[in-house]
């Protein structure tokens, strides 16, 4: 099986992958920019009031997050398919057409969000402006378009996977991506019953983020370890299957932790508590998987007297290792410490959730997807061993440091909010604002903004690096 990613030069699938990565990087920048607007509004509430309100800035912030990650995910699959299957992706022409359809749809949706913002309370708003349902706000016409694009992508993956050599990684991706596309359908209807609405809404949000996306990350980590350090495929794929069992085993029923307070029956308390307590375990496994394979491969090389590093792409591997840490910390630890119902009763819907969300999305997904972008830069430039530049190091340090700083700040804010608004005051309007005006809360929001600026500066270094590192003379070609 062709596991050297350099063999795919000239592959149309890989070219399409770079298109996906490029658009993903642009939208990543937009996500950070609108995040900054929202962070400023916490500190200065009058900022862009009735021009670009918090609701709009935040909708753009979280939708851009989902979109750039989905783009980078599709791109990463198109990148690795020729390597894993040994053949060119089938249906690549349709894939390229769907790419432009997807980009056009996203641009129109973003423009409508910015310039139209809200509509009357009728179905036309739901069809053409937005659906007002956190994370899956896309208007219905775009929903249908997204389903078509996703099905086209899944079809390409299946046709290629069935025709070429089918590795364990491709098998996992095939099963995972069909679930990923199918689950989106559960978030596409309107109901007057907000409990039913929220019940199915979580089928998209939770089953994406805490099940199918995590399994996807496992497959990507496996591919990365094989390509970047030459880890043994049999060992890597064994780990991958173990992770899939643990991730789906804990993640699917871990959904219970979202069903504590939305009007659903009490038995979800026990189911949610048990399975979400298990959810960090596969993340530990993924952590060990990456570091173990690295140590094992390097150790094998050292034993034969070779002094060189086994890593053939330093910046990408840095992001992959950061993924192992970030996934365990952000999704595992920060997630775990408020999923027990006894704690969640007070922390649900506070800045704790926000702290967890920031570190988890970054640690579990952003890191590995940025790593894939570096792998693509290496591949398209035909670099044998890619080294880190100063910009690579500034980018990774400032982005990771900034997100960690935001997470700590939001955790402090959440702590104040829980004590004042929830435990002491009981979640009323006045209690809410008492919590928001606490000194520690206000300072935490200042720090969140500062750390947001650090993150954004890091992004600028990242963009510069991704555009220029391929031409640098420091690499071994």
């Amino acid at each position: 099986m062709a596991s050297n990613h350099l063999t795919g030069i000239g592959s149309e699938s890989k070219q399409l992958a770079t298109w996906y990565f490029a658009f993903a990087a642009i939208i990543f920048g937009a996500q950070l920019l609108f995040g900054l607007v929202a962070a400023i509004q916490y500190v200065m509430p009058g900022f862009l009031f009735e021009i670009l309100d918090f609701s709009v800035a935040r909708m753009l912030h979280i939708n851009a997050l989902v979109v750039w990650m989905v783009f980078a995910m599709f791109g990463a699959v198109y990148w690795l398919l020729p390597d894993e299957t040994g053949i060119e992706t089938i249906g690549i022409k349709v894939g390229k057409l769907l790419y432009w359809v997807f980009v056009a749809a996203i641009v129109i949706v973003i423009l409508v969000y910015i310039f139209v913002q809200v509509g009357p309370a009728d179905e036309t708003s739901i069809w053409f402006i937005h659906e007002g349902r956190e994370y899956i706000e896309a208007p219905r016409w775009a929903d249908i378009g997204i389903v078509v694009v996703a099905l086209g992508f899944v079809a390409n993956l299946f046709m290629t996977g069935m025709t070429g050599k089918r590795s364990g990684i491709v098998t996992v991706l095939m099963a995972d991506m069909i679930a990923f596309a199918g689950l989106y359908l559960t978030g596409m209807f309107f109901t007057d019953n907000i409990t039913v609405d929220q019940y199915w809404w979580w089928w998209v949000i939770h089953l994406w983020v805490e099940a199918t996306w995590e399994v996807y990350v496992g497959a990507l980590a496996a591919y990365g370890l094989i390509t970047m350090i030459g880890a043994h495929r049999k060992v890597v794929e064994m780990w991958l299957w173990i992770e899939v069992a643990m991730l789906f085993g804990s993640g699917i029923l871990g959904m219970g932790h979202h069903y504590f307070w939305i009007g659903t029956p009490e038995y979800w308390w026990e189911i949610g508590a048990l399975f979400s307590a298990l959810e960090p375990l596969p993340l530990v496994a993924m952590f060990i998987h990456v570091l173990y394979d690295w140590g094992k491969t390097q150790g094998g090389q050292d034993a034969t007297g070779q002094k060189l590093s086994v890593i053939n792409n330093k910046p990408a591997f840095t992001w992959f290792v950061l993924n192992a840490f970030g996934n365990f910390l952000g999704a595992g630890i920060w997630g775990f410490f408020h999923t027990l119902p006894q704690v969640n009763l007070y922390t649900h819907g506070t800045q704790f959730t926000s702290a967890h969300g920031h570190l988890a999305f970054f640690g579990a997904y952003a890191t590995i997807l940025i790593g894939m972008m570096y792998i693509a830069v290496q591949g398209t430039n035909g670099i044998k061993v890619m080294k880190s530049t100063k910009s690579s190091i500034w980018a990774v340090s400032m982005i990771a440091g900034g997100v960690m700083g935001m997470t700590v700040a939001l955790t402090v804010a959440g702590y104040v909010q829980v004590l004042v608004s929830r435990a002491q005051m009981g979640a009323t309007w006045a209690g809410y604002f008492d919590g928001q005006s606490g000194l520690w809360f206000a300072q935490a929001m200042d720090w969140r903004l500062i750390m947001g600026v650090v993150t954004f500066t890091g992004f600028l270094f990242l963009a510069k690096d991704l555009l220029s590192i391929g031409k640098s003379q420091i690499h071994e070609r």
């Binding site: 509004q41 509430p45 309370a121 349902r133 364990g168 907000i194 699917i252 009007g263």
Partner: protein, 228 residues
């Protein structure tokens, strides 16, 4: 025994385990979804007439007085519709006028709720507020907003110049930046009088959903633990 392969390092074994575990979890989730779906389906006016407590009651609850009271049996607050029977269960008797009427028919109430739920989405409430604890954290949770002391103690009524809670809420929703209550103001979202009515009905209906005691100690700020 030299050629015996350990099952623990056999990829086929782990592949099968992954398939079985995933299948088992998925089947369990689907089974639980059937049970939950039955329990969270919206009730009807007939349920209310017959004194049947539903986790999500029918839209005609807007004709009744709603409170949020401690249930000794369940150990947390529960929504009480139309008076408490003394054991933490709703009596469905005590009515309360909603925009001047307490005889909204099932159809009228359903239409109002439909408009309100649609409005809550098209006006993007969830990207500042939380509803049932989900959403953004920039503005107060709306789960029990209908029961919030701020609307009942008269300050918001005086501010908006209205005589009833629902009228004050509707007025505020139509011109939010005219009635600032905090530096973090609500923007004008072009909410019409009819839409505002629907939104208030939606909020009143949402306050009757049985959220297993969330939010806890609601209204404690006024010194009354049990929401009185």
């Amino acid at each position: 025994m030299a050629n015996k392969v350990s099952v623990w390092s056999d990829n086929r074994f782990w592949q099968r385990s992954a398939a079985w575990v995933t299948g088992f979890a998925a089947v369990l989730l689907i089974w639980l979804t059937f049970d939950t779906s039955a329990q969270i389906s919206m009730g009807t006016d007939e349920d209310i007439q017959n004194g049947v407590t539903k986790r999500v009651p029918g839209p005609t609850v807007i004709n009744y007085k709603i409170t949020y009271e401690m249930s000794a049996k369940r150990g947390h607050e529960v929504p009480i519709i139309g008076g408490n029977d003394g054991k933490g269960m709703s009596l469905f008797q005590e009515k309360e006028k909603f925009f001047g009427r307490d005889d909204w028919s099932e159809e009228e109430a359903r239409e109002l709720l439909h408009l309100g739920k649609l409005g809550s989405q098209t006006k993007n409430c969830m990207n500042c507020h939380t509803l049932l604890g989900n959403g953004a954290y920039y503005a107060p949770d709306l789960t029990k907003a209908w029961l919030d002391p701020a609307w009942e103690d008269g300050t918001m009524m005086a501010m908006t110049g209205k005589d009833t809670k629902e009228e004050a809420m509707a007025e505020f929703l139509q011109h939010p930046s005219t009635y600032p209550t905090h530096a973090r103001m609500m923007p004008d979202l072009g909410i019409t009088a009819e839409e505002a009515k629907g939104l208030v009905a939606f909020l009143k209906h949402m306050s009757t959903i049985d959220t297993n005691g969330f939010p806890r100690n609601f209204g404690k700020i006024r010194g009354a633990v049990h929401g009185k």
